[in-house]
């Protein structure tokens, strides 16, 4: 699959995602510059983590207005795949491609640690290599990952099955918002959500950081393998 990793000034997980798609999964992958006005035939667009434009206004707020993002919006509206990780998730929220907003972490500190997330949907292009209920171990690394929306909207999000990943205890049990296993105080333990159509995914944990055994795990690799439509054999080969 043709994959594109968007580089904003301040992106810093761009090389990491590129490495997984290109070198671990062997996909045709290129960087897309934020000021480009074409996706150059990209089928899977990844908005990587980092601090686009320094996040000086609000996480993702400036990046959402980049020229290339108009094309990303069209791509999403046409049903194309868009994956936003960490800062990429924040950008998707700022663009309104996903609902809700991000607040600073509950303890007002940057947090980098491994968390456990439960897979709530395994019927999406991004998750069909997982099983529903599976618990994944992935690192988070962010200062603003505390997902928030009104109670009414959260209910609707849950009802529509748009919650894809949820922070849980290592054995998969739900945890309270103030619990240590919820790293940022996110409402209802939300770690990743999709749009109604299921072609846009935003998530705070970093699947690209657990895509090789030597780095401590491969729980994230299945996500990329699913997205590029080669879950089966590629996942097997890469492992």
């Amino acid at each position: 699959m043709r994959c594109g990793v968007v580089m904003f000034p301040g992106s810093n997980c761009d090389h990491d995602v590129y490495h997984v798609l290109k070198h671990v999964l062997g996909q045709e992958t290129r960087f897309l510059w934020h000021q480009d006005r074409s996706l150059k035939g990209t089928e899977l667009v990844v908005l990587p983590g980092g601090f686009s434009y320094g996040d000086y206004l609000r996480g993702g707020a400036m990046a959402a207005l980049s020229p290339l993002m108009a094309k990303v919006r069209e791509h999403a509206e046409d049903g194309g795949l868009v994956l936003g990780i960490c800062n990429g998730f924040q950008i998707l929220l700022e663009m309104g491609l996903l609902p809700g907003a991000m607040r600073r972490n509950r303890n007002l500190r940057f947090v980098c640690k491994d968390v456990h997330v439960r897979v709530e949907r395994d019927d999406l292009p991004f998750t069909h290599a997982y099983r529903k209920g599976q618990v994944l171990r992935m690192p988070v690394a962010h200062a603003e990952g505390n997902y928030e929306d009104s109670g009414e909207h959260l209910d609707a999000l849950e009802a529509a099955g748009q919650v894809v990943f949820r922070y849980v205890s290592p054995d998969g049990e739900p945890v309270a918002e103030g619990d240590g296993w919820n790293p940022n105080g996110s409402a209802r333990g939300i770690a990743g959500i999709t749009n109604e159509e299921g072609n846009v995914l935003g998530m705070m944990p970093h699947p690209e950081r657990v895509s090789e055994t030597i780095l401590g795990g491969t729980d994230g690799l299945a996500l990329f393998a699913s997205a590029v439509g080669a879950a089966g054999e590629l996942l097997e080969a890469a492992r």
Binding site: N12, D16, G49, G54, F110, C112, D179, R209, L215, G216
Partner: protein
């Protein structure tokens, strides 16, 4: 190319230079006369400022040079030794590593957040100006007692500052050291290390060559911040230090990140001759150092330097330490190619001068000369002192053998040690640092050495930073050697061969003979250890004047050693990884309690000789460990350091929450003895004989002491058995620091 033409500030009236003014700039009478001798006239105001900065202790190393020359700097793998912006070693596979460590102690004490943040920023720039992409940071932090005035604020600010900067630039902080001691109550230490990777044929050096080549300025505009920063770092603290807050620079990690990307891209074009960060003493040091290395002169039109605010004159412009600025020399005719890259990243590029043949640094302001200085004379003839040294009068008393209270309940004492900020888990600190970005982190913070993947090869890189200020204070020579030996031992625990070392030497006022003695002794100890363990010094930094009033910090020669792990397959953990593994203790205890954590933290005794450093024993142990790792026969390797055997044993249990049952030939206080050249390994029972035989061949004392498993730490010592639950010890160890800092726990 933008060249600012603003005639509004053309009228310039510089104050007349007097000897009193020179003194206020930190130049003593003799130095001022030396300057006048070099110039053959009185200096201008700008020239005085420039010279005072260049000759400051911070920039000139005038007190330390004579001793630094004793350090070994050559080695098989050294590509670039001291003198450049960073040292470089050859990692193999066509890769080289550029690394350096620097202090930001003074600014961090005055303004912890910005002080620490800009410390990280500066060291990252030193690395990427060598053409290397930064891939790892380490931080060595020495704070005072938490109850000392402002100390919690300082800890919080420094950690946030380091985190916010490194996290935003996207360089993982993969390790470091955090300590607490009352000697740092009035002057904390913040030592930042960065390492970058480059292909061996793409290294950049910072020598301005080629008369007529344009000098370009890129990055942030120049403001008033940090003026006299280098001079501040060359003085002790007093009551007025608070008023120096404006001399602390302000960091902008986003600009750093784009500057980094743009510089690496621009360097690939071949259109850049030299590039250097405007760090301490800003434009002054970057311009003079580049010209000095290139044996050229230069002409700078200071009125063309982009400014952030109005009203700055040539003096301020030469001395500002505004952050995220680079000075570069481009190939004549290819300026536009370079400028285009920077503009793509949204950065300003200005031509502010050119390289000239000859030796003069000509500084102009709207066409008028404000400075005309001979480059090599100012650097070659910079003052160099062999300052008086004197052993401190109280040394013998401090080294007297202490009375050692025996522990009545060793595991109880262990729990009390684990609850001290000094020995507790530092996760509260490193969880605020992104340590996994760039997807190279195989072993992150919290173990013996950090290990990074060298993508595309079977090998890895290992890094460790070490020093024990208590040892160095009791015996600087032993302490200096110990820091090197421990770093090498930590590397050996992950199978890494050391390639090179960088240091950051933090001391008090060098004009005091006992401080200069500490310095000389510590450097000699380091030097001996570097030679014996075959670790050349490739870069470094000296920070003097770490004192408040007349109270100096403990001498703290921080070292960081970089090595290569030939094959990451079979890399052991620093903790116990598998129930059923047998534990083998390597090395022999000599019951050395002087300067131990046990005496200091539990009995408030800081006395005695620190543990001796037997360099041959260290070399044998390191070689044994590397061999065992390479063979892939051990699943755990952990060295014994501060806190001794029991603390190391408990730490090894915490990794996977695994218990251990040991029977040791150590009794009473010896369970906490800090004798060096010791470690333990754990392996499958079938490998025990092989490990013992390997140890014997290398003359390393070795003994099987027990087995991994269960949920308890079970200790048999002198025929008595005691038990502690690992979970309980872990709770104490992991919650101590957050509780001490915040009084409450959080997620």
């Amino acid at each position: 190319m933008s060249t600012k033409k603003d005639g509004s500030a053309a009228m310039l009236e510089e104050p007349e230079v007097t000897p009193e003014m020179a003194e206020a700039h930190g130049l003593n009478e003799e130095e001022y006369e030396r300057l006048r001798g070099i110039l053959g006239r009185d200096p201008t105001y700008t020239e005085l400022g420039v010279t005072a900065a260049l000759w400051s202790e911070h920039c000139s190393y005038k007190s330390s040079k004579v001793y630094l020359a004793e350090l070994p700097t050559d080695g098989t793998y050294v590509v670039e030794g001291p003198g450049e912006n960073a040292g470089i070693v050859d990692l193999g596979f066509g890769w080289v590593a550029a690394f350096k460590m620097e202090s930001h102690n003074h600014p961090s004490f005055i303004e912890p957040y910005q002080g620490a943040a800009t410390g990280v920023g500066g060291i990252l720039r030193d690395v990427f100006t060598m053409g290397a992409r930064p891939v790892a940071c380490l931080d060595t932090l020495h704070f005072g007692e938490l109850d000392a005035p402002r100390m919690r604020h300082l800890v919080d600010g420094v950690v946030r500052g380091i985190g916010d900067y490194g996290n935003c630039v996207g360089v993982p902080t993969v390790g470091g050291q955090t300590g607490f001691h009352k000697s740092f109550n009035g002057n904390i230490l913040v030592n930042a290390f960065a390492l970058g990777l480059a292909r061996e044929d793409r290294i950049f050096r910072a020598a301005a060559t080629g008369a007529g080549n344009p000098i370009l300025y890129v990055g942030s505009r120049t403001g008033r911040d940090g003026i006299h920063g280098a001079t501040m770092a060359s003085e002790s603290f007093d009551e007025e230090s608070e008023a120096k807050r404006p001399t602390v620079q302000v960091g902008d990690p986003f600009t750093e990140k784009i500057l980094l990307e743009a510089c690496l891209q621009a360097m690939r074009t071949g259109a850049i001759v030299a590039i250097q960060d405007m760090g301490a003493a800003g434009l002054t040091s970057s311009a003079f150092e580049m010209a000095d290395r290139g044996k050229t002169g230069l002409r700078l039109a200071l009125d063309t330097v982009p400014l952030r605010e109005t009203g700055l004159g040539p003096y301020e412009i030469m001395l500002s330490e505004s952050q995220e600025r680079m000075l570069l020399v481009a190939r004549r005719g290819r300026e536009e190619e370079v400028a285009k890259i920077y503009r793509r990243w949204g950065l300003e590029v200005s031509r502010i001068g050119e390289v000239t043949s000859g030796d003069r640094a000509l500084l102009t302001w709207h066409g008028e000369t404000v400075g005309d200085l001979p480059v090599s004379a100012l650097t070659d003839k910079a003052p160099k002192y062999r300052r008086p040294v004197e052993e401190p009068a109280d040394l013998a008393a401090r080294q007297a053998d202490p009375e050692v209270p025996e522990p009545s309940d060793p595991l109880g004492d262990l729990a009390r040690l684990l609850a001290t900020p000094q020995l507790a888990s530092k996760e509260w600190v490193w969880r605020q640092y992104d340590h996994t970005v760039r997807t190279n982190t195989v072993r992150g913070p919290g173990g013996d050495a950090a290990v990074l993947l060298l993508k595309g090869t079977p090998a890895g890189m290992a890094l460790s930073t070490d020093v024990n200020p208590v040892y160095t204070s009791l015996d600087p020579r032993t302490g200096g050697a110990q820091a090197v030996a421990e770093a090498v031992r930590n590397l050996a625990c992950v199978g890494a061969e050391p390639l090179g070392l960088t240091d950051c030497l933090n001391f008090g006022n060098p004009e005091r003979p006992e401080i200069m003695w500490q310095f000389r002794e510590a450097v000699r100890g380091m030097s001996a250890a570097c030679r014996a363990l075959d670790v050349p010094v490739v870069s470094g930094n000296v920070s003097f004047y770490n004192e408040t009033g007349d109270r100096s910090v403990h001498p703290t020669p921080t070292v960081a050693v970089v090595g290569v792990v030939p094959d990451l397959d079979g890399l052991p953990a620093s903790g116990f990884a598998r129930a059923g593994d047998r534990v083998i203790l390597l090395g022999e205890d000599r019951r050395e309690m002087g300067g131990s954590a046990y005496l200091r933290l539990l009995h408030d005794i800081e006395q005695g000789k620190p543990p001796a450093v037997d360099l041959e024993a260290e070399a044998r142990l390191a070689e044994l460990l590397r061999t065992l790792v390479f063979k892939g026969v051990i699943s755990t390797a952990h060295d014994l350091s501060e806190g001794g055997f029991l603390v190391a044993l408990a730490e090894a249990c915490f990794d996977h929450g695994l218990g251990v049952r040991v029977d040791v030939p150590l009794e009473g206080a010896a369970l906490f003895s800090e004798t060096q050249a010791r470690a333990f390994v754990a392996c499958d029972p079938e490998h025990v004989d092989g490990v013992l035989a390997s140890a014997e061949r290398r003359k390393v004392p070795a003994r099987e002491i027990g087995e991994v498993g269960g949920e308890e730490l079970v200790l048999t010592s002198a025929g008595e058995t005691a038990t502690a639950r690992v979970e309980e010890l872990h709770r104490i160890w992991s919650t101590a620091l957050p509780l001490a800092l915040e009084g409450a726990l959080e997620g």
